[in-house]
Symmetry: C2
Subunit: 500 residues, 2 copies
């Protein structure tokens, strides 16, 4: 039995022992309870689960002071940021309640019997149904928004799927406390036992992904971690869907007209964005393309001044601090890369700004380096810019800063960047991912979630699967597919009907 | 250079040499041309691609006589079935045109800037965009509906994705001719070169899946074939989405009341379904649960008589015939299994009917055996039925035959069967998969396509990915996301607005 320690990253000390690592037998027992909860959770209905999500949000808010303090002790992210993160998480739980009440997410579709050029068609009724118990892997950098509470848990519960969370080892006490708050609220609400579970320890995470009753995996973390889980999934008798939120470079392009218009603003804004939260965001812009010439020089100088004004930050944990120091050193030593501003490379969280040329763009520069570091790549003309963009890996986001009224180059940039991103930001910064109906937080590998999002209302789609009833009696159909039901949007014989 | 022969399964003779196997360099060249076609194909717009699909359907219809004769020579499926399959394929191409014109598939979503409990929200606009070039693997059993033309190709082209088809070695001449017909029509229409490509040979298929410019794979075939392709995908620097349509048992349950009502009809109907097309359908019902007692006996006897009246059939190819003979022999020799009616096991396509008890249900019985064979498993009571159902793998379909007005047991059966299927058929048979809006052709592994369908209008979703524009100028947005656009359903600030 191995202890799970809670470590204070500000001191490196063990603050408490949170739990013992969850054993294989315990994981299996949790999966069985989760599986048993599947049908009762679905049977709560959309309104019932919406009310459950509201109850979870209220319970988290009641425990806010304690949870934020604990999270700050384990992550050093600061209480302001963490209070905001908790608000985000509660807003998200309630927004999924709205999604449930509105019901369009079910994609309810009815085809009445008909004669078609391919022959007679039976009565077919399709909607999305819960996929079953979901394993959620908490992230180190969002102890509240992508961990025990957070987008994966909220969207899975909304879908009607019980959740077993693998607590991140970087904040086990926060995870455990959040679990107790949420599980307590769920029990009090009358949700089935097994609606929410938690496991601690790396082996427990592997056991969870391998367990036959787990039907999907939500993961936010490193590409290496994802590859390890994918290898477990591939060995299953029945490989299951894996929704990973992995690495992301998040390139930003400043057009010549934008630099001419507001070099200083963009320089400072870029620094604020890449150092926000210690640069420990999946949407951190790690690379900016800046034109050569005086306006670009002014931008670089503004960025340099902004970085110089920053204090070192405590990174999330020792592993991340070590990895950051090594990554920053590797970047600084890459051919063609110059250091604009940095402290000593040996201290973990010193913000670092580098420059290189878009033409050179060494391979180190197009890989994510997690932490408060970014590279400014100078380009001479649009052709050089395009060539550089076409060498980029896929990211969650790409950003364009354009000049006032400029549209031709931004349109071309959108075409070059779109295959390499999931969200295209104009005249802003990619950090700060609004939870909303139109949000998309995904992208082709290594960003992953090519087909799905892990932020926003569409995140629920990951934990649902389509199901069709053919010539089913009304009594056997889900309420939403019966003839008389009109409380959700439905597509009938190809025509979309809004809520009656 | 290896020849690709077209073999007549009725004689085993080589009818012609169709092509040389496509080399690795040729595959790469095709992928580059397909990639170059991506943007122009998207830029045709929804109406343009709808018109392209109409043109492809018309061209196939013009070539129907020749294509059907060729397909019959290579598959022995008969001209009646193949004429119907061609009609299905043309209907499907045109239906995706309707999908494009209607536009709801884009999931266009607009969030205007707003203040939220988590802070200010920017302008966010999301819709689905083409994923890029798609590799489609033709199936042996549907030379027209799941091969060069067919659901994967139609839905990918509709989505705006160029397609490179790996021709199935069982009908290379049909594949090549269909390719020429479709590519010729596409060229005449003005579609970009590279809209459609074709490769021959197993290595070419592997090269295709490994190629960096291929962004998704559609596959209809065996679990072993899928595992091999998944292994290639896992080795890619960027693993891509894989949509497989693999193995399926398709269990069918006859309630006691249904057997009392119409034993003879169901017995005969079941045989007609499992022997249709030589039992070479992914929706073939391979296992039926039949009650013990006189009504069940009558059903078995009716099925026996129906099988006895059938002639042997020529199976699709020698490998399938050999595999069928071996599988049928293995099933017949499984413990607790009795042969009701068969010819000689050595002849490829002899229909075989077997019985066993639901209590025993040996493992051989719950695996798909491709060909005209099925097992009747006799159950004594509902508890025995439920236990047996819970031992079944996932399938594309499950079927329930119920008594007149019977709802309680059918409702319970729906609950037991739903986790193990993608479509639940009442009082009918799973063969015959209508192409429509509410269709779902998928299911958890080994049926695969857990999250997506390979038949019906929703199949287009596989070849699209979400993309969000943040604070984008109107000029850079796709037409469908601009303020003034009203020609498709859109969700604005959470509310679904039908087409204006």
């Amino acid at each position: 039995m191995t202890d799970v320690p809670s470590i204070d990253p500000r001191t490196g000390d063990v603050a408490e022992i949170v739990a013992a690592e969850t054993t294989t037998a315990e994981v299996a027992a949790l999966c069985r309870v989760a599986d048993a909860a599947s049908r009762p959770l679905e049977d709560l209905g959309r309104d019932g689960r919406a009310a459950l999500l509201d109850a979870l949000a209220a319970a988290l808010e009641d425990a806010a002071t304690e949870v934020v303090a604990l999270a700050d002790r384990e992550t050093a992210l600061g209480t302001t940021r963490l209070t905001g993160e908790l608000a985000r998480t509660c807003y998200q739980l309630r927004l999924f309640g709205e999604v449930l009440r509105e019901g369009g997410y079910l994609e309810a579709t009815i085809d009445h019997p008909a004669d078609t050029p391919m022959g007679p068609r039976p009565d077919l009724r399709r909607m999305l149904v819960p996929i079953g118990p979901v394993a959620v892997f908490g992230a180190s950098n969002f102890p509240l928004a992508f961990s025990v509470p957070g987008g994966d848990t909220a969207s899975a519960l909304a879908a009607g799927c019980p959740v077993v969370v693998k607590a991140h080892g970087s904040h086990p006490a926060t995870s455990q406390r959040c679990y107790e708050v949420l599980a307590g609220a769920a029990e009090q609400f009358g949700a089935p036992p097994g609606t929410l579970g938690i496991v601690h320890g790396q082996q427990a995470g592997a056991d969870l992904v391998a367990h036959p009753l787990v039907r999907a995996v939500g993961f936010t973390g490193s590409t290496a971690g994802a590859r390890a889980l994918l290898a477990i999934i591939e060995k299953r008798a029945d490989p299951i869907p894996f929704y990973g939120e992995l690495s992301s470079l998040n390139p930003l392009v400043v057009t010549r007209a934008a630099a001419a218009d507001r070099a200083a603003d963009i320089g400072a804004g870029f620094v604020a964005s890449f150092t926000l939260g210690g640069g420990q965001f999946c949407t951190k812009p790690g690379l900016a393309f800046v034109p050569t010439g005086p306006d670009g020089d002014a931008l670089v100088e503004a960025a340099r001044r902004a970085v110089a004004a920053l204090d070192p930050v405590v990174l999330l944990n020792e592993r991340i601090a070590e990895s950051y120091a090594a990554g920053a050193a590797r970047l600084a030593q890459a051919p063609g890369v110059s250091v604009v501003r940095t402290g000593t490379m040996r201290a973990g969280g010193v913000p670092v700004l580098l420059t290189t040329s878009a033409r050179a763009l060494p391979p180190e520069v197009v890989e994510e380096c997690f932490g408060p570091i970014a590279v400014l790549a100078r380009y001479r003309d649009d052709a050089e810019l395009r060539t550089a963009i076409e060498r980029l890996p896929s990211s969650l986001t790409a950003t364009v800063h354009r000049g006032p009224g400029e549209t031709e180059l931004p349109d071309a940039l959108a075409g070059w960047l779109r295959p390499r991103a999931g969200r295209l930001v104009f005249d802003g910064y990619p950090t700060g991912v609004a939870v909303s109906w139109a949000q998309h937080h995904g992208g082709p590998w290594p960003a992953t979630n090519t087909q799905h999002t892990s932020v926003g209302t569409a995140a629920i789609r990951r934990f649902l699967r389509p199901f069709t009833w053919q010539n089913a009696p009304q009594e056997v159909l889900p309420a939403e597919l019966r003839d008389a039901y009109g409380a959700i949007p439905r597509r009938i014989n190809g025509t979309l009907h809004p809520t009656a």
